[in-house]
Symmetry: C2
Subunit: 179 residues, 2 copies
Amino acid sequence: MLFITSNKGKFDEAYEIGKKYGFEIEWRKEKYEEFQGDSLEEIAYKSALALVNKIKEPFFIEDSGLFINALNGFPGPYSSYVFKTIGNDGILRLMEGVENRKAKFIAVIAYFDGSRVRIFNGEVEGEISREKRGDKGFGYDPVFLYGDKTFAELGEEKNEVSHRRRALERFFESIMADG
Amino acid sequence: MLFITSNKGKFDEAYEIGKKYGFEIEWRKEKYEEFQGDSLEEIAYKSALALVNKIKEPFFIEDSGLFINALNGFPGPYSSYVFKTIGNDGILRLMEGVENRKAKFIAVIAYFDGSRVRIFNGEVEGEISREKRGDKGFGYDPVFLYGDKTFAELGEEKNEVSHRRRALERFFESIMADG
């Protein structure tokens, strides 16, 4: 099956996990149109559905975001745009003096199995740190505390517990169970 | 021609301005799918193009956003989502201690004339206030300073100078010039 993404890191991770489950993932390096929506699930579903007109064989896409409880889920589905504009400094500023620091990363996979689109997701719960820490990872990793370390301090270990890993595992387990 | 919007206030404003130019605007109260994109222009263009498959007669859609210079254009194309989550308090917090307070509202109209989609825009420049002021208007109006008053203090006067008004006027002038 095809993984449609312009991000090589995402492809490599999916490829490795897929292999463990006996699936051969092929990289279709391509940008696709994303819809707007109130949730990652809605966005991924609509975006995959629109791709079905172009791509007839099985494929999946993936999208992820950071959801901060005290900020009503912000930056959520628009995490990537928010990161490009106000970045981690903006997040820390919005969280100054805020006691409830709970947040989660969510990854969503939309899979077209040849006849319909199905959604799988994975989450990891954590907290927003008081300052940026660590130089591994990317995006919001330096402000996302998992236990007493940020994702940017964890490095490789992060991949063992990440939202993306969980979504991929659920996805592969489910389609393996279908035969 | 049809104005496709779920917002009655927007329709009323367009209807009144259209009348001055001799155009009869009809309200199609409908939500439509919006794409993601780096600019309002890109989003409106793509969203209108997708609607062309469903609607054969001339129509237009409108989208607008607040662009803050010191925040790299944030909240920009996702102003509505940002307002729902962090609101004006979030904007003021991000702007605490920031000297450069320049911002603009941008409105974009995408018009399908029966054969192609054309884009018109309108802008109004202002500054982000130090605190919320005024109880008229909606959205970011209480933090958007135009001269020494916020849009939420201006009330009706705002409609005379607003980005939406400017975009609508340019739009109607242009299609009138085309005959």
